[in-house]
């Protein structure tokens, strides 16, 4: 099976491709197979009927489809690990085919942006301390892709170089400043710098740190003011260690997926059931680029979805809400 063709081709519908990946992983992925068997799901043709494996499985076990075959390609494999303090369990995502991830990153960006028009500057403090960060690998891929040589990782704790900014402005390139939310705010604290008007700022989440916690709306307002951009120029990326595809928001709060990824909002009381558009639930993701791990995942994030498939991320689902005594105004 040519996986890249299966995932990225436009020749068949998402449902058809998802059904092929579902059958492949149910057959060849021992973890997903046990999961489906325990739920009594023997087959599914619609993405809605495909069980979504809780994403914490990446912390508990090794998730590889066709593990016997993938052993052979182990040397070229990547292992992505989520960040975490000592003693904390970290997600491990084994990626036996880095080229596929690279394609997903570049095709995904090109789906939304004229990627070759951009110079990428990346600022991701703390992530850079994690040698297994999938975000850093993604940023490296984007930087390496720019033939102009102007793309780069920014030095930590150093204000933006205005001469370099002017040089980009005078070239035919646009700036895309890519960074973790708190990192971008740190940059502003060092020095407020107006970016060229046609720049884009891409934040990758991380609103809650030991120093501050804020809503995505507040963050975008601060970033727009600080970098002298309109709010429409502040975009977001939604990705995680366990996914090899990303979703992007393009100047508002709604995220859009790439064609080989689909988001649904699942009922926390019954994750096999979808919530109607506009109602909160757990964000479920089918990411076909996860062909070698598991494509059918239930996150711990809370979200809502529109009819057209765009979705919002409303923070982490609070597991404490699910149990025990709770006086609630509407439904005590």
């Amino acid at each position: 099976m040519n996986f890249a063709d299966l995932i990225f081709s436009s020749g068949s519908s998402f449902s058809e491709k998802a059904a092929k990946v579902f059958n492949y992983q149910k057959d060849k992925n021992p973890v997903y197979q046990r999961f489906c068997n325990a739920l009594g799901v023997t087959g599914a043709t619609s993405p809605d009927a495909m069980p979504l494996l809780p994403i914490q499985a990446f912390k508990e076990t090794t998730i590889i489809t066709n593990p016997d075959e993938e052993q052979g390609s182990k040397e070229s494999s990547l292992i992505f690990k989520s960040s975490g303090t000592s003693g904390m369990r970290r997600s491990c995502h084994y990626v036996p085919d880095p080229e596929l991830y690279k394609q997903s990153i570049l095709k995904g960006m090109r789906h939304f942006y004229e990627l070759d028009d951009f110079v990428i500057w990346a600022y991701a403090p703390t992530y850079s301390e994690n040698p297994n960060s999938s975000l850093i690998w993604m940023l490296n891929t984007l930087i390496d892709n720019d033939a102009s040589g102007q793309s780069k990782f920014l030095a930590l704790d150093t204000p933006l170089d205005k001469k370099e900014l002017t040089a980009i402005q005078q070239s035919d390139k646009r700036m895309m400043l890519f960074g973790a939310a708190f990192g971008l705010l740190d940059l502003l604290e060092q020095q407020k710098t107006s970016l060229p008007d046609d720049s884009l700022l891409m934040e990758t989440g991380g609103m809650k740190t030991h120093r501050r916690e804020m809503s995505r709306q507040d963050l975008h307002r601060q970033l727009a003011e600080g970098f002298g951009l309109s709010k429409a120029s502040i975009h977001s990326e939604y990705g995680m260690t366990e996914l090899l595809s990303q979703a992007y928001s393009l100047g508002d709060e709604w995220f859009h997926t790439v064609p080989w990824m689909q988001v649904s909002i699942r009922n926390p009381d019954n994750p096999m059931e979808q919530m109607p558009p506009g109602e909160e639930g757990l964000i479920g993701i089918i990411d076909l680029a996860n062909i070698h791990s598991c494509s059918f995942l239930l996150t711990g994030d809370k979200g809502i979805r529109r009819e057209d498939g765009a979705f919002q991320v409303l923070g982490r689902w609070n597991p404490q809400d699910l149990r025990g005594c709770n006086f609630l105004i509407e439904r005590d």
């Binding site: 999961f35 325990a38 005594c325």
Partner: protein, 355 residues
């Protein structure tokens, strides 16, 4: 204690005794209504009432007042307390209501729609013994409009606090300076280091009474024994318990999903029809789910530190766990009247605030 407060305590005790009389038809009717509407099981209501009866007949109302230091000078007379009762258990608000009324404060209760009948009959009984403090209640928070209470007691999560406060402010149900006593504990833990029959019975009751709901119910068990080594024997005790106390509510599909997840990651677990026990050090995040952790006293301390304020009590079969306050496992569902939700006794708290 001087005579005025003694008179007040005696009246409260008399009301409690009257309420528990076998010929209290109002209570009988409330029990029937509660069962008929499927709110709680007869067995759980019976258990709760028997525990309260034992406590009251052994003089615990007076003992509680003495322990808290209630007196003519140390009391909450003249204060208005608003209690927002959650309804996971039959009579879960009983202790709070009793403590507030015992303090001498005026009590207004927002009764849970999940448990509107039982507590109401007790409050009616209190209104008939001529107490000086006023007792009001409703199942509609709107009826508390303009109350301007001095203190609000409610059970909730940290996430619900802002919503509840906003609604109370909108209604003027509490004064701007009102204090909030918020109950955030969700579950209890047990450290079980033996497999004696009595311990297994106590553990079964601690986990499965009230369908596992309520903050006194055990949702995390720490034991030197693995789940696999103990589950067959333990299942026998559980089945025996359910024969006498049929499970009132059924778990939803999320529990089967958790079972499938455990299968996927090959985690040890025991499916008990209405409950799932799994080997996990995670926060138990669903009803009908119990996490079993093979470990020792250090494990108990680590988990207590990890889970924080959501843990109500840590039960043992008698031994002390250094650095942690423990409670006998046998008292899990038979607490004395003065037990402290979230480590804060309502009566003592009110006396400290307003004396």
């Amino acid at each position: 204690m001087n005579s005025k407060i003694t008179d007040h305590i005696n009246k409260v005790e008399q009301a409690a005794r009257n309420w528990l009389q076998p010929d209290n038809y109002a209570l009988k009717e409330a029990i029937d209504q509660t069962i008929n509407e499927g709110l709680f099981s007869f067995e759980d209501i019976k258990h709760q009432l028997l525990v309260l009866k034992e406590n009251i007949e052994s003089g615990q109302i007076t003992a509680w007042a003495q322990r808290a230091g209630l007196s003519d000078t140390d009391n909450a007379v003249g204060k208005t307390i608003l209690c927002l009762h959650a309804g996971n258990l039959p009579l879960v608000g009983f202790q709070t209501a009793l403590g507030v009324i015992l303090s001498g404060a005026d009590y207004t209760g927002k009764l849970s729609r999940k448990d509107p009948y039982l507590l109401k009959t007790f409050l009616t009984e209190l209104n008939q013994v001529g107490l000086d403090n006023s007792i009001n209640y409703s199942t509609d928070l709107n009826d508390c409009e303009g109350l301007e209470a001095d203190e609000v007691v409610f059970a909730g999560s940290s996430a619900s606090v802002a919503v509840v406060k906003k609604e109370i402010n909108r209604l003027g149900a509490a004064s701007d300076e009102a204090r909030y006593l918020i109950r955030t504990a969700k579950f209890s833990m047990a450290y079980v280091d033996n497999q004696d029959a009595l311990t297994m019975k106590d553990l079964t009751e601690a986990i499965f009474r009230y369908g596992g709901k309520g903050c006194r119910s055990v949702a995390v068990v720490v034991s030197p024994y693995s789940l696999d080594s103990i589950k067959c024997e333990f299942t026998d005790y559980v089945e025996s318990f359910w024969l006498k106390n049929p499970q009132h509510q059924e778990p939803g599909p999320a529990l089967a999903y958790q079972f499938a997840y455990n299968k996927a990651i090959e985690r040890s677990q025991a499916w008990l029809d209405h409950f799932l026990i799994q080997e996990s050090t995670d926060l138990p995040d669903q009803d009908f789910l119990v996490n079993w952790v093979q470990g020792d006293e250090d494990t108990v301390r680590e988990l207590k530190a990890k889970f924080g304020d959501v843990v109500q009590s840590i039960y043992t079969t008698g031994q002390q766990v250094e650095g942690i306050e423990t409670t006998p496992l046998s008292q899990a569902q038979r607490p004395p009247l003065w037990w402290q939700p979230d480590g804060v006794g309502v009566l003592k708290e009110l006396l400290c605030s307003y004396s």
